[in-house]
Symmetry: C2
């Protein structure tokens, strides 16, 4: 039996991205973002939605650059902290003991402790009321060697990403269920 919950932002899974940017003083800044995702293949883009009141909004607007850092489960305290305070008052990298590294491709810092990083330049923006969607063209993906298999494929379970839920909590990834482009072939015999 389904219940109507009205117009709400409930979806699963949600990401827990750390968005890296430089602020107007050139200081590295971070924010936590659950609104966003991959948006296209050619060009490779990722979108993150940000409220115009956020300190990160000004930094990305100024430098037309940002990084999307995918935190592993061990960084949950740091990720939550970066969603609690503003970079206008806090040096979040320092207070969370995270290491900013300047991207060689875009004018934005990434988080050295994250095992998967997308280096992005702003490709397009879209105003959506409460938030502006920044669509970043992914110029490069940086992946820690520890999460790659022998063919260079990112192993999701080794990346061990934080997942954000609908109940104000962070989760880890569980077991593999099935291979994609594979298990569904069973139903082709019905065609």
């Amino acid at each position: 039996m389904k219940k109507s919950l009205g117009p709400n932002t409930f979806a699963l899974p949600l990401p827990a991205f750390l968005v890296g940017s430089y602020d107007e003083n050139g200081n590295p800044n971070l924010m936590t973002a659950a609104w966003g995702g991959i948006l296209s293949s050619e060009p490779a883009t990722v979108g993150v939605s940000i409220r115009p009141t956020r300190w990160t909004f000004d930094g990305i607007t100024l430098n037309k650059s940002f990084t999307v850092n995918i935190p592993h489960v061990g960084l949950v305290t740091e990720v939550d902290f970066c969603g609690l305070v503003s970079g206008k008052q806090h040096d979040k990298f320092k207070e969370a003991s995270l290491t900013p590294v300047e991207s060689s491709l875009v004018k934005a810092p990434y988080v050295d402790e994250c095992l998967l990083v997308l280096e992005c330049k702003t490709h397009k923006t879209l105003e959506l009321g409460s938030h502006v969607l920044f669509v970043g063209q992914i110029l490069n993906v940086l992946a820690d060697e520890s999460i790659l298999d022998e063919s260079g494929v990112i192993q999701s379970l080794k990346a061990n990403p934080l997942v954000y839920g609908t109940d104000a909590a962070y989760f880890k990834l569980g077991a593999e269920v099935e291979k994609a482009f594979s298990c569904g072939k069973k139903l082709l015999r019905n065609s």
Copy 2:
């Protein structure tokens, strides 16, 4: 040690949405989408990116309506099937034994077997090269009573959503790691 993988669409977690629409003949259709996510709070919106060659693209364009259905782990075969074939040649609801229900709010069908459904009308679109991003205004969320707690909050683990990975596989959600807006407070003492 980080390795450069070039411009690629690698992020975690990715969703495995089933996007529901009516085609030009009024038949219910489905596609599997991993490119998208929640994009704003007011209005509540969700984005899904779709290639213009897809059958679903025409249906959403025609009806300015779609549903985002969040499949639980038990539907993995059906989800994968809906990503393997086109609605132009296949009645995916029928072949996957899924039940289409007409939304009472938008001109799109939803999947009765999904425990969480977003009923959307197209709010904006954004061309992104390979894909067009359809931003849907979420007019209503339908949630099965079995995934709600006593306060009406969606329990992520009860929703048991499929998660798509970077290694062409579907995963389940694992254990809760921490509460949000809570565990990060530990770092405030450093401020």
